[in-house]
């Protein structure tokens, strides 16, 4: 578990005592992580903005319940973020494709592999997408994943396996390209070490 640093804890205590400006400090510290996580979950910057506001509104309302000894503050915040994203998806069942989902190249100058991977991520169910984002973007450990998603460790493992299988099935070309010998390897007759 990554404990909240001293400054965050101080801000949290001030917030719990009713200091709104301290919450501004917390917001500044975590806004981008929450926003980016929401963006990766929803694939849409505008929805991510909405969720960003909802997450911090919710965090402010339930901050009194946060117990530093039970989970890191980030993990607690990610839990709210993921829940809000899942709720958002549930409530907005009609898919609204963002520009970068319609045209993956619109978001950034990515290569083909990047577009294929993003497309594969977009096809994951919200629950599998959550585990992928938390693990591969935020680098959460299995224990943190279990806390953030409120699921047992065994479920973390099975969801990760499931997500990886779906992504790999979708990304056969990319994975094979990544694993194929490079030009130099071919030229010198090298083979991948086993």
């Amino acid at each position: 578990m990554r404990p909240a640093d001293g400054e965050t804890l101080t801000l949290i205590r001030r917030c719990q005592a009713g200091d709104l400006s301290a919450f501004g400090g917390i917001f500044e510290r975590y806004k981008n992580l929450v926003y980016k996580t929401a963006y990766l979950m929803l694939g849409n910057a505008r929805d991510a903005e909405d969720v960003l506001q909802e997450v911090f509104l919710e965090a402010y309302r339930v901050l009194g319940q946060y117990q530093p000894e039970r989970a890191a503050f980030q993990t607690w915040l990610y839990r709210i973020t993921i829940n809000d994203c899942l709720n958002w998806k549930r409530k907005h069942r009609i898919p609204v494709l963002s520009l970068d989902e319609v045209n993956p190249a619109a978001d950034s100058p990515n290569d083909d592999a990047d577009r294929e991977v993003w497309s594969a991520i977009s096809k994951l169910s919200p629950k599998l997408r959550a585990v992928v984002v938390l693990r591969y973007y935020l680098d959460l450990s299995y224990l943190e994943l279990a806390q953030a998603l409120d699921i047992p460790l065994g479920t973390v493992k099975s969801r990760l396996n499931q997500a990886l299988q779906v992504v790999r099935d979708d990304l056969k070309g990319v994975v094979e390209r990544d694993l194929s010998p490079t030009h130099d390897e071919r030229a010198f007759g090298w083979v991948r070490a086993k």
């Binding site: 501004g24 929450v34 299995y142 990544d178």
Partner: protein, 250 residues
């Protein structure tokens, strides 16, 4: 002592945890032994690592250009302050009183969209899509003033006109109009969107920044203090805006 047998099927299920160093030491040792003698599972592990690397790379690439909006805290703070000091007045559907299809704002550097006249309080409590037809919306340019409001001319040419407020007296009460960002020069900062006027607090962004760059948030007040209350609306001259939850602006 021979290592416990591990089938390829079971090994495959443990590969991710193995790669993430999330296996217990004893399980890790059993799997390592299996991998040493199984080229198929080795290839499986290679593919899994390649897929993970691709996932990580793409997620980082995709998230990198994005950042929380600059105005996010000021918007959130308004809502939180309103929450902390809830108004004693009954909640009303403020947005339902806006006329549909208001004109695109002018090209002035600062344009203030004013609710000129509101319907009776009873009309404001009407459900969505029954906006009172007598409602009028007008636009004030920089330097203009009116009953209870003034748009400072000196701010008109500044490229960073942000967070300006003005009070507007209307028949049914006093409204605080908060201009978030209205200038051609700072169009990249303009986030045209509607903030739902009821309690759901959902915001739906407009599809694009209006060409003439105008965005206004109007906040209903129950007293003459310019402190924003929870009900708020950010409107722009863009195409149709609507909050799917409870209210519509057209």
């Amino acid at each position: 002592m021979t290592a416990p047998f591990l089938s390829c099927r079971d090994a495959k299920l443990q590969l991710a945890a193995f790669a993430h160093r999330e296996l217990a030491p004893s399980e890790r040792e059993v799997l390592r032994t299996h991998l040493d003698g199984c080229t198929r599972c080795q290839l499986e592990l290679d593919q899994l690592l390649a897929a993970e690397a691709a996932l990580k790379r793409t997620l980082l690439n995709r998230a990198a250009p994005h950042a929380a909006p600059k105005l996010a805290w000021s918007q959130l703070r308004s809502v939180l302050e309103a929450d902390a000091k809830p108004s004693a007045a009954p909640r009303r559907h403020f947005l339902a009183s806006l006329v549909p299809g208001f004109a695109r704002l002018g090209t002035t550097a600062v344009a203030l969209l004013l609710v000129g006249a509101l319907g009776a309080p009873a009309a404001m409590r009407q459900p969505v899509a029954t906006a009172p037809p007598e409602l009028a919306v007008s636009v004030a340019s920089a330097g203009e003033s009116g009953p209870g409001f003034e748009v400072p001319g000196s701010q008109a040419s500044a490229p960073d006109v942000l967070d300006r407020t003005a009070l507007v007296d209307v028949p049914s009460g006093t409204f605080s109009i908060l201009v978030l960002a209205v200038s051609r020069e700072r169009q990249e900062d303009i986030v045209p969107q509607s903030v739902c006027g009821s309690n759901c607090l959902r915001r739906r962004a407009a599809p694009k920044v209006p060409a003439d760059g105008a965005a206004v948030v109007a906040m209903p007040q129950t007293d003459n203090v310019s402190r924003p209350v929870q009900k708020s609306v950010l409107v722009s001259g863009g195409p149709e805006l609507r909050c799917p939850m409870c209210i519509q602006i057209q």
